[in-house]
Symmetry: none
Subunit: 535 residues, 2 copies
């Protein structure tokens, strides 16, 4: 690895995101993931400014076993008009015993006057004193030059002076911050070049995505000579977020040939990005570059035959390099080639059987014409595939009938109640379930009715439910498509149901989802004998 | 406006997004929004390649009243080894009667050989013939040079030849496509410069976001001389999506001083982006640049006083220029202006009554925090406005209770049956209605029950119904938002309902929709006396 800094600020600037709130345990978990990704520096928070961050640094020393990363504490320069040693917030930075302290310093004259309410000269003294105090205690010091690009536009001489003063005081790197996020790449590149030429300081870059250019701005700074990049996992951050660190690193490493993190660690990026979104409880963004669920997903059936010959004609990078997968969507443009590829993805080699592929392709097309979609319902497609390959659909239970009732209640939310009559494992069951909606009620009744025969269904959870009206404008003839996502705690899968009645379409998707869950769990089909008895 | 082209491809390339599927009605609605945004060109789809797109172009001529935009049909060059005039797909482009046809042409030699399976020479002939055929029929022709940047890297001479041949055949603009989305801004800028210098063609740019640089790549192309930008609303598109057209336009117009769309139209951008996400049923992304709900949101505290003195110190652009609002997470600065504007739009002058505007703003905020949205539910907002202005909500009937039952039926679709008990016009009614879904059944029962008192409700039709699950991932605690559209045959209006139970949320929207229909019809509220009798 080179001396280039990959500096993560998920735990500090990322945590500024609206609706994101991290406990100390969350922060420790994320720090572990960041280390596995191979970043060089993890900014853990602001010890002294809030008790959670103080505790994080206290526990990090004992509990984190970092292999790659160095922990950095974030803080501000001393207050105006006092000694650094007398400022309790500065002392807390020293007490954090972090190897690196990153100090935020104002570099925009108007902000010094309006937010700090002090003089430009005193601001420079605050930087100098604080850096020297921390350096004297043995800590390495970085500086975040806040609002640098806006400041440089309004008063270039002062902005440069801030960098110079910091460097002279012993700062290792001055990260130029586009705090308001409005810069465009050419501006960032020009300013970084000027700062490097004018100060001799080592320069870093910290970008926000307000103009949709955080990644490109970071690259422009690196092209101009910056050798320290800041960013956050999944681009978390205030407003539109910070530069997405994985995208930045993947671009630099895979497209610019820079050696920033171990290749094996980068191959964990997709897993890590998703694991962190489990910790933050912010749903993953499927269109996220490199690691998004859709990032290497292709729809057009047109190209499927060419994709088979050379997938690299249709992808900008090898998804394996970031731990992602190429995925083909079965869509109404689908042809034989994409069905074959999709089969291979699911572990079925269909290539040898032309008649089978034709049959599946035609069935998919006919169902899609009715309103089904398989691109977001892999599990329904796999059940169809099993049915065509093995001659019968997996069949664990036989439903006689169901009914669901929803009643208004005065001064309370409405209540739904469902009754399902079915036979499973040779036993007939009539079970009623309640829910705060008709689908929850049906789900409860269905799983109640088959739970005795298949206890594994108790682990399943209905985690998402989507409804789409097709042919809107046709009033009561509208076709309704329901997508349901079930999870067994480890993985999740989606199924689809279609019909004129929303409840019936939901029921179809639910039955598919539970059936797929039983297939996945390796349950034996005890219902087949029952079925033949009936026949 | 300059001659610069703002070219939208939401309806064609945007619709390639995983999980996005647009009906003809959806496409017509989105085209109306795009026109309101002031784009120059709307690519409507591929007539001839699928019946939905053929129908879109057929209906667009009659139903769309475009003020700014020109409609473009997308299609491919003729097949190898035949005349353009004999290719039914090319003929369909002419028959679409679109003013502009945008032809996709291969410009990467490997793709010509592997995907088209023809010679490099024949590919050039296919471009020449198809362009000349369409030009002879009086249509303007643009070309999308597919995989241009990868093609240029592998075989620059051939890629340039494609541009030259297209320009010589009479193409107005050749859009260079980063189809795989992996380019970085410096590469894009260099190639665009070279193409402009080497061919004399007018150059456009079409970018995807696979490396997180779609917006920056588009800007780099414009800086190098491209004068036609393609993109999609909300950055919809395959994989990681296309360049977000609003971000591109806002950057060029607000930061580069280019005059691309009317300033008043750009001030509608936030509303339009959200309205379109209601049509596509893709949840809006709160961190989206310029138009995201969080795009101008600040965690107040530290900087609050400085923000009050000069908000521009903390924002990269004026949120009003894109119709967004600065929002402080702990205080109340947002909304008032837009509530006033909205009131004026609906015919209520609220400007004189500060307390009233504050009350409405706070109520809207509280309801939005629960999951309501009024962007696509004008009728619900107007009912709320009437309630606050006049002291009481329009009230034509009093509901005692409702119930809906859905039953499976062997070998038939499920049937729903609803019973509503209410009093209207002094009469108590208990009416049961059937439907092929629970909402249709409730609609039938509700209108049956009030129809005797208010015969005008027989004219109303339930024409659209949309469901969105908020807080997906929270399982049974999920909040459900229902949008309903009713029509009286002349105009239509939308209402919103929110709750944990999908049926109850639908009922709320339905009651609002019917109530609004009665207000619209000028019906007198005979229920008020009945209400007071009960009290």
């Amino acid at each position: 690895m080179s001396d280039f800094h990959v500096y993560d600020t998920t735990l500090r600037d990322g945590a500024q995101q609206e609706g994101l709130s991290l406990s100390v345990e969350d922060k420790l978990a994320i720090a572990g993931h960041l280390d596995a990704l191979g970043v060089g520096y993890i900014e853990g928070g602001w010890p002294g400014a809030n008790p959670k961050d103080t505790e994080f640094f206290r526990r990090a020393g004992d509990e984190l076993r970092l292999r790659h990363a160095t922990l950095a504490a974030f803080g501000a320069t001393r207050r105006a008009g006092m000694k650094a040693a007398d400022d309790p917030l500065v002392r807390a930075l020293r007490d954090s015993r972090a190897d690196v302290v990153t100090l935020v310093a104002k570099s925009h004259d108007r902000h010094v006057e309006l937010a700090l309410r002090t003089t430009l000269e005193e601001n420079l003294a605050m930087i100098r004193d604080t850096v020297e105090f921390l350096r004297a205690g043995g800590q390495r010091v970085f500086v975040d030059a806040e609002h640098f690009f806006d400041g440089y536009r309004d008063n270039p001489a002062y902005a440069l002076e801030v960098v110079r003063v910091a460097a002279e005081a012993g700062v290792e790197v001055v990260a130029l911050c586009d705090t308001n996020g409005g810069m465009l790449p050419d501006q960032v590149g020009d300013v970084v070049s000027t700062v490097l030429a004018g100060t001799g300081a080592r320069v870093g870059i910290h970008c926000h995505n307000d103009a949709g250019c955080a990644v490109a701005n970071t690259l422009a700074a690196v092209d101009a000579g910056a050798s320290h990049v800041q960013g956050t996992l999944n681009g978390y951050g205030e407003r539109t977020g910070n530069a997405d660190l994985v995208t930045v690193v993947a671009n630099l490493q895979l497209k610019r040939g820079r050696d920033l993190v171990p290749a094996a660690a980068l191959r964990e990026a997709t897993r890590i990005a998703h694991a962190v979104s489990e910790v933050t409880n912010v749903p993953p963004y499927s269109r996220q570059p490199y690691v998004g669920a859709s990032a290497f997903t292709h729809k057009a059936g047109l190209h499927a035959s060419a994709i088979k010959v050379d997938p690299n004609l249709y992808q900008h990078a090898d998804p394996e390099d970031v731990g992602n997968d190429m995925r083909l969507l079965v869509s109404d443009m689908a042809g034989r080639a994409s069905i074959e590829l999709k089969g291979r993805e699911l572990g079925y080699d269909l290539a040898g059987d032309r008649a089978l592929v034709t049959r599946i392709t035609e069935r998919v097309k006919a169902m899609e014409a009715q309103g089904y979609t398989f691109e977001a319902a892999d599990a329904s497609f796999e059940l169809l595939l099993i049915e065509e390959v093995e001659g019968a659909r997996p069949n664990f239970f036989h439903v006689d009938s169901w009914r669901v009732i929803t009643d208004s209640r005065p001064d309370e939310e409405a209540l739904s109640e469902a009754t399902v009559k079915l036979s499973a494992g040779g036993e007939r069951a009539i079970v009623t379930g309640e829910g705060n909606g008709p689908v929850n009620a049906l789900d409860a009744a269905l799983r109640g009715a088959i739970g005795q025969s298949y206890p594994v269904v108790e682990k399943l959870d209905l985690i998402d439910y989507r409804v789409r009206i097709l042919d809107a404008g046709h009033g009561t003839d509208a076709v309704i498509r329901v997508l349901i996502e079930l999870s067994d705690g480890e993985e999740s899968w989606q199924t689809v149901g279609v019909g004129h009645n929303i409840i019936e379409a939901s029921w179809e998707a639910l039955v598919d989802g539970v059936t797929y869950g039983l297939v996945r769990a390796g349950v034996e089909q005890s219902e087949q004998s029952e079925q033949s008895e009936r026949a």
